[in-house]
């Protein structure tokens, strides 16, 4: 309890987890810094542009006791049918985190799954780099710093040239009534391939969860990252996902949000090496009184890089969704192609969508396309389906499934697509 961040008592309270005393000093220093930075930033106010469309009261930083994620042995009860599609299954919940190496792949020495503290000892440079990665065009806010201060979890490193296409499943169960900050660091070396799926579920109740994901992909490496949030009726959640790609590296990321009382999502990628390619897809279906606020950044800091982003959202009942996109092209990032599209469906009156695409271009000789659409279900499509015998509710669901199919089909695993489709159908069919 002698850690520096516990002494910043005059500043607004930043809840910090106990039990980090054994961590390497460099990591402790980073935590202290994060806590201080969080404390130095003012709490969100409703008139802030950032918070104008989501209610800060749904994200209180000081209302819940923090959890420190310590490693623990796997529990047989955690097993799930989805596990069989993965080599490694990681569980994170209020009682800690565990790893099951189903394929025995960590024995090979080509993939390492470590706690943050272990990684700070064995791969200090990687941890340092990943910890400090942030998009210059959007510095961390108070919540993100606070999440870093309390973050604990898993570091996964893949050695050069190694392929883990079957991949790693990270299952996060958000506990209610806590300030819960799981962390995933992905260090994908040059010419290696890693497939990571994270499934985020939550206990019913309130609380606040903030997940941090940091990744880097070495030259010619490839990262597939799928993130599924299935958190209806659970704590408010935030996610901060960002990473950097070296020469000819590729990212294929898909995020799926199907439920969460309040969601703030920040997803970013920087194409930092010549020839790097970023592909990001997003799907969100909000219902009830849910509020979702998603921001993406696509950064091009090297020539001949590409990025392709497609985010689709549908809102029903009185839910609302805000999307803000940013494409940033740095000076010298010539011959880049950047694409950003946000498509929205409003399923009934009373639901609301805002879409704010943005560009910050300091380079020339580039192709940059962005656009947004907001619409409702097409009555002619509905009639066509009904004329073939489908009840209106089924017709609506089918059109919506079709709307999202472009994103769902980007998921590499059929089993995962089925999970998403099933949850989509449930959300659609649920009464208002």
């Amino acid at each position: 309890m002698s850690k520096a961040w516990n002494t910043v008592s005059e500043a607004p309270a930043i809840p910090l987890p106990p039990g980090t005393a054994n961590e390497p000093p460099a990591l402790s220093a980073r935590r202290s810094e994060a806590a201080r930075r969080a404390a130095d930033l003012p709490p969100p106010a409703p008139h802030d542009e950032e918070w104008r469309r989501t209610d800060p009261a749904r994200f209180p930083l000081d209302a819940w006791p923090p959890v420190h994620l310590e490693p623990r042995p796997p529990r047989p009860a955690d097993a799930d049918p989805l596990d069989e599609f993965f080599d490694v299954v990681i569980e994170m919940d209020g009682s800690g985190w565990s790893v099951r190496d189903r394929g025995g792949v960590t024995q090979s020495g080509r993939i390492a799954v470590l706690s943050l503290a272990e990684a700070a000892e064995r791969h200090p440079d990687a941890v340092e780099t990943l910890w400090t990665l942030e998009p210059a065009v959007r510095p961390r806010d108070r919540h993100e710093w606070a999440a870093m201060a309390a973050a604990a979890g898993v570091f996964i490193r893949v050695e050069p040239g190694a392929e883990f296409a079957r991949g790693v499943l990270v299952r996060v169960r958000q506990p209610a009534g806590r300030w819960f900050c799981p962390l995933t660091m992905l260090d994908v070396s040059e010419r290696s391939t890693l497939h990571v799926v994270s499934a985020i579920l939550s206990e019913p109740g309130d609380g606040l969860a903030a997940e941090t994901v940091r990744y880097r992909v070495g030259a010619g490496g490839r990262l597939r990252l799928a993130r599924l949030q299935l958190c209806a009726g659970g704590p408010s959640q935030m996610e901060f996902v960002h990473g950097r790609l070296s020469e000819d590296a590729q990212l294929d990321a898909v995020s799926v949000h199907l439920g969460g009382a309040a969601v703030r999502s920040r997803v970013g990628a920087e194409a930092a090496g010549r020839g790097a390619g970023v592909r990001i897809g997003g799907l969100l279906l909000a219902a009830g009184t849910e509020q979702a606020d998603q921001q993406t950044v696509q950064i091009h800091s090297a020539p001949d890089t590409t990025s392709d982003l497609l985010f689709k959202a549908a809102v029903r009942d009185r839910a609302r969704s805000v999307y803000r996109g940013l494409i940033a092209a740095h000076r010298g990032a010539v011959r880049i192609a950047a694409y950003q599209k946000n498509q929205n469906l409003i399923l009934n009156e009373g639901a609301r969508v805002d879409s704010l695409p943005g560009l910050r271009i300091d380079a020339d000789d580039l192709t940059c396309t962005h656009g947004a659409t907001i619409g409702s279900l097409d009555p002619d499509e509905l009639f066509y389906l009904r004329s073939r015998g489908l009840p209106e509710s089924v017709a609506r669901r089918l059109i919506l499934e079709g709307f999202f199919e472009e994103i769902v089909s980007r998921l590499a695993m059929p089993a995962l697509r089925d999970v998403v489709r099933r949850h989509l159908a449930e959300r659609m069919d649920a009464p208002a």
Binding site: P379, S387, P391, E392, L398
Partner: protein
């Protein structure tokens, strides 16, 4: 009339319109099971309006009249209920449903119309493949989103595929022949012939004699300004080809049987 069998489709004094404008102005039409009828008429005379009203498009208002399918009042039913009673409309302009494949769409439709229990997945797929082959529709089409990026002719074949899979007893084809090449026309006609039979009724809406050579109608009706201006046998088609519609507008051209 008293000994005549009950008509399959019976339209009486139908008045209907859209956007506050009356388009059908007292339309009468009867089609018995086993019969093929043709409906012709100039652009804008109300043929597609009739199709939409029969199918129950929510934008169309019915002012007066009755429509019965096998004696049951259709106008009270939702579009999906009409489909389940065996009514099928092949649309003049079929819409695309992005992201919904033909297989997915038809599976849901067949389950809805024929009943989930009666269709098992394997049998459904076999039947779909066979029917597609019969209509010379390549298998790759079955996994494409319905009508998305399909050519005009491909969309029309897709309508016929849906018709055969749903096994309706009363079919309305709204200009299914328009824009078809000669081979596609034969394929469509072959599909319609498969459905036509002693218990089914067919209404072929068309501008052209061509399709009627492949699907010979028992009766031909001419729709003018929202009413059947004349009905007759197949010889009426040739007469229209020769004379156009103008002669029917003359006051002397009283509607006939």
């Amino acid at each position: 009339m008293t000994n005549a069998p009950q008509p399959l489709l019976q339209i009486e004094g139908l008045r209907a319109g859209v956007g506050g404008r009356e388009i059908l102005r007292g339309l009468d039409l009867e089609i018995a099971a086993g019969e093929i009828h043709a409906l012709m008429g100039p652009n804008g005379s109300g043929k597609s309006t009739l199709s939409n009203v029969l199918m129950g498009h929510p934008d169309y208002e019915v002012g007066a009249g009755r429509v019965r399918l096998a004696g049951e009042d259709l106008l009270e039913l939702s579009p999906e209920e009409r489909a389940r009673r065996g009514l099928f409309l092949a649309f003049q302009y079929p819409v695309a449903i992005p992201g919904v494949s033909v297989v997915q769409f038809l599976k849901a439709a067949v389950e809805a119309v024929r009943g989930r229990e009666s269709v098992r997945a394997a049998a459904f797929l076999r039947e779909l493949r066979e029917t597609a082959a019969f209509l010379e529709i390549g298998e790759i089409f079955l996994n494409r989103p319905i009508n998305e990026g399909f050519s005009g002719g491909e969309k029309k074949r897709m309508e016929i595929l849906q018709m055969l899979m749903l096994r309706p007893r009363m079919v309305v084809l709204d200009e299914t022949d328009s824009g078809l090449d000669i081979d596609a026309l034969k394929v469509v006609a072959r599909g319609v012939q498969r459905i036509a039979g002693p218990s089914a009724g067919v209404l072929v809406i068309t501008h052209y004699e061509r399709i009627l050579n492949h699907i010979p109608p028992h009766r031909v009706h001419i729709l003018l300004e929202g009413r059947i201006a004349r009905s007759g046998g197949p010889e009426l088609v040739a007469e229209l080809e020769r004379r156009g519609y103008d002669w029917l507008r003359e006051p002397s051209a009283a509607p006939s049987g």
